[in-house]
Symmetry: C2
Subunit: 374 residues, 2 copies
Amino acid sequence: MTLRFGIDATVATGGRSGRLWTPHGVVETPVFMPVGTAGSVKGVDPEALAGVGVEMILANTYHLHLRPGEDVVADIGGLHGFTGWRGPILTDSGGFQVFSLAALRTLDDDGVRFQSHIDGAHLALTPESVVGIQESLGADIIMPLDHCPPHDATGGDLEAAVRRTTLWARRSLAARRRPDQAMFGIVQGGVDVALRRRHLDTLAALPFEGYALGGLSVGEPLEEMYRVLARVAPHMPGDRPRYLMGVGSPDAVIEAVRRGIDMFDSVYPTRMGRHGTVMTADGPMNIRNAAHARGAGPLDPSCDCPTCTGFSRAYIRHLIKSREILGYRLATVHNLAFMARLMQNLRRALREDALEAFRTDFWRRYYRDVPPPG
Amino acid sequence: MTLRFGIDATVATGGRSGRLWTPHGVVETPVFMPVGTAGSVKGVDPEALAGVGVEMILANTYHLHLRPGEDVVADIGGLHGFTGWRGPILTDSGGFQVFSLAALRTLDDDGVRFQSHIDGAHLALTPESVVGIQESLGADIIMPLDHCPPHDATGGDLEAAVRRTTLWARRSLAARRRPDQAMFGIVQGGVDVALRRRHLDTLAALPFEGYALGGLSVGEPLEEMYRVLARVAPHMPGDRPRYLMGVGSPDAVIEAVRRGIDMFDSVYPTRMGRHGTVMTADGPMNIRNAAHARGAGPLDPSCDCPTCTGFSRAYIRHLIKSREILGYRLATVHNLAFMARLMQNLRRALREDALEAFRTDFWRRYYRDVPPPG
């Protein structure tokens, strides 16, 4: 095992805190991974990421395969050498981007053929090529190609996606050549709990170093996702990390942590920041709002990030409204600091067996009058 | 006098090194000021600016007047509080931007009426309003509204611009209320040396704390500018800073320093960087070029900036080609480090009376086979 995972606290709802040892350092869990789509968390250099408490990042295989190509990244020392980020990295399989970005997909058991969204080039991904690409990229954790159906897929379509994902999971494991990378299995099944549980049991018998839930947070109501989490997460292998893909809003992260999820990734905080929505202790705030035009104070008075200690709301509003790229950076840095602090607080609450109180307090303040689900 | 200026070395061609004391710190001259158009040097926070040796910046009155408005900036502590840049700042008069960006200008002795390039709003600038705006912005050095004619203006048009600029200079001085800001006179006259000298003599009799050459580097051949510099700069008051507006390419900076210019501003290094042209000891380099696709080394092996010590050519090329904003930042930081180092080297050469040798060496290496002018 290239990955070591240890749990140091568990609470009654299933939530747990722990540590993940990777070839590029130890990560405390639950962890949130910002997304460095094309090999950069938009606008933020690795030093600034580390400065606000980011421990691990995700990079997109699809984007890096298209540009600059995994061979270029490999030449420059893999993703760590290429991006300058020295901590742990996870790469996704590219499948999700093929389904959401690429044109003219054709899909069969062999893999997926598609056209690049950049230049229309005809490309293909197979389970084997996806492993090869990720081995060139050199992340600490890699993901097998999976078939992620749309959120409104039902019956036969969901079953077919599960079957194909299992087929590809086996082929992905067989294709592995690098002993220093971990690979997680991806559980599909939409919001069909029985199907998810069956898929999970199938994959749990395979030698994956962790398990991910795919195909959630793809458009279904949040309550549906919470229901699936409550009934599936407890059955995921307890001694291996549990990763909920594509989730990064505070509500969903807290609810999933409560159910025992250890890892998250999402463009949510970075994309929101670029659009001018900043996360504060009192909830999300649209900095473009005229109310902030003369705001001399920081985005969040309780935040100690470089944005909040150095710049006023008025300045950040001005930059964002003027489309100045420094504005995107400053808002992103703040939102990442917010997320890192949220994860820290969640870990502390788990270790002190105080998650329910933390959850109630957080929901009350961040979401005002909206009660937590369930 | 709010500004103190001292010269510590002069060379035979007229070049000199010195120091400029401002309310926000001491600047060594000759100095290059990066441009923070809308209150930010695009993509680079103040800490990173200072980190690469930037000593002083310029901000554009026109842009800040339109958005967010000088009253907002004043509310947040002036430009220093607003932007977080704690060093010296110079604001231009806005006149140049009115002439180059705004629509439907009408110009008379009272001032200029125009439409905002952002929202088409009908606006006006007068010498008095421009002083008022800059007093609200709170820079260390402010500039009077001037009439900058196009580079191909001749005869009567040039004369009229000079006459109007003088009129406005007097009105600007009369409008001043803040004793802690310095104001420079702006010499016009195109490439007509006699007219420039006459204008200079007129303005030199007025109580300006420094003198600027406006209306150069606006499209005329560089040789024309060099000719004007050689014949006008020596007559600018020697005990006050001499500022060549809008110039920032290494060739022009070196030639102007040689003729006794102390201050420069230009978007050249920052704009070039965003477009992927990086300045190296061996000349400008287009990082978008395919030759750099697998470049594992830094942009410039002789550079110690955070970009060159942290990132490969291949990565920066990838970011710029992918329009990732981190790429703009990294290239800009490098180009600003290059310019800061060039100015340092020029100051050292002036102090060691070795400017001619430095100039020959620099031209030979940076511009390859192109000999220096004259």
